[in-house]
């Protein structure tokens, strides 16, 4: 992974990372800014990784949960939701700009 050292701190909360950044405690400041962005996402929504290439311990270092496949992730979601969960699919997420109302 580019900037592999960042896995040492990516699971930390956004405000903790911001404090460490401002105190110059993180050498790779570009990576630190991205770690804050990931923490912001994580603090907004639960993130589940389905990936053959990212090991569960790496996902944990990123602060993310894992599932072996999409069906398992969706089944778990259905089991834990009080009502039938509404799910959207972005097939090419990085190249899509959702224009939400």
């Amino acid at each position: 992974m580019t900037h592999p050292d960042m896995l040492d701190y990516t699971a930390q909360p956004a405000d903790v990372l911001l404090g460490r950044y401002e105190r110059n405690e993180i050498d790779d400041r570009v990576a630190a800014s991205l770690a804050v962005a990931w923490a912001r996402v994580r603090e907004y929504a639960r993130v589940v990784l389905v990936s053959d290439g990212i090991a569960p311990h790496e996902a944990a270092a990123l602060g993310f949960d894992t599932a072996p496949d999409v069906e398992t992730a969706l089944s778990a979601l259905a089991r834990t939701s009080g009502t039938t969960p509404q799910v959207g699919v972005l097939t090419h997420a990085p190249d899509t700009l959702p224009l939400v109302a």
Partner: protein, 316 residues
């Protein structure tokens, strides 16, 4: 009710059966036809500048030029964009010996010779000198700080050229709102301290900047580019196959905004917000999480607070 969907996964496709959930919709970029004659489209853009004089007029009387291009992590076809820029600079009287093309690596790794050849093409390689901005070793000029406190450190070469032209492709971007425009200077040819500071404007934002035009990050980028004397950009939009759809040339700010309008038509998809979960395929940013993380931000726009984002990425 939709019960199954296909998801790109690296070179393969996953057939997913959705049980126990209500599939609200499947959102995918719309197919966009490329320009039939991209070279003619670029020529037309250079001859019809937005908010500035033409490149030939701007370069008249100048003796040196710097052309900024992005790197191998972007699909921008520099082999198509740079030759007509060189044509206009030479027509204006600038010798090819006094034109430098710089690859704006930002904080990415330097490209190897084969990657450079693939990016710029043999014609450009044979016409002008090519260099790379390596933020670790590049000579940087310290321009102080912006009113917002961002330290400005930019490659010295920008101040050695009489005219600087930026290029780039406009795509949605989680830090800047969209790529291209002044982004070719910051982070493209800036020091790491400058880049970290502007990125932190995005990190501090409570809501995603993805798809927004006038962001705090963009304001810093445009101010820094102006301080460095980059007044003109050639910006294009691309379809899913990396082919040119539109081309715009002119003054940096209005040209970028016109190209963003083009990009919205290509990448924008009407979608609901407040969903319980979003399945986000990382294609085509599949190489590693440093790329695949771009799946998070579009999904964040659609999911409710406390919902779930399922990122599906091979990251081999």
């Amino acid at each position: 009710m939709i019960r199954r969907f296909d998801l790109p996964y690296g070179a393969e496709s996953l057939a997913v059966r959705a049980a126990g959930v209500d599939l609200a919709g499947i959102y995918t970029p719309r197919p966009t036809l490329p320009a039939l004659a991209p070279e003619a489209l670029i020529r037309e853009a250079l001859d019809n500048p937005i908010g500035s004089e033409s490149l030939r007029e701007a370069a008249r009387g100048k003796t040196s030029a710097l052309v900024l291009i992005d790197d191998i992590t972007r699909e921008t076809p520099a082999d198509l964009l740079v030759p007509p820029i060189l044509d206009d600079l030479e027509t204006a009287g600038i010798s090819a010996d006094d034109i430098l093309v710089m690859i704006a690596l930002g904080t990415h790794r330097p490209m190897n010779d084969e990657e450079i050849r693939h990016k710029v093409g043999d014609e450009v390689l044979s016409r002008v000198r090519i260099t790379q901005h390596d933020h670790r070793t590049a000579p940087l000029r310290d321009l102080g700080v912006t009113p917002s406190g961002t330290p400005i450190e930019v490659n010295e070469h920008l101040f050695e050229a009489d005219i600087v032209i930026g290029t780039g492709a406009v795509v949605p971007h989680h830090i800047a709102g969209f790529s291209a425009g002044a982004k070719i200077v910051q982070p493209g040819v800036s020091g790491a301290a400058t880049t970290a500071a502007t990125h932190m404007f995005s990190a501090r934002a409570r809501t995603p900047l993805l798809g927004r035009v006038d962001t705090p990050v963009r304001a810093e980028m445009e101010l820094i580019a102006e301080r460095c004397g980059m007044r003109h950009v050639l910006n294009v939009t691309l379809n899913a196959d990396g082919q040119i759809v539109t081309a715009r040339f002119g003054a940096t700010r209005p040209t970028y905004r016109r190209a963003v309008e083009d990009a919205r038509r290509i990448y924008g998809v009407r979608a609901p917000a407040g969903l319980d979960a979003v399945v986000a395929g990382s294609h085509p940013c599949d190489i590693e999480f440093w790329q695949a993380h771009k799946s998070l931000y579009p999904a964040m726009l659609m999911v409710r607070p406390g919902g779930t984002i399922i990122v599906v990425t091979p990251c081999p």
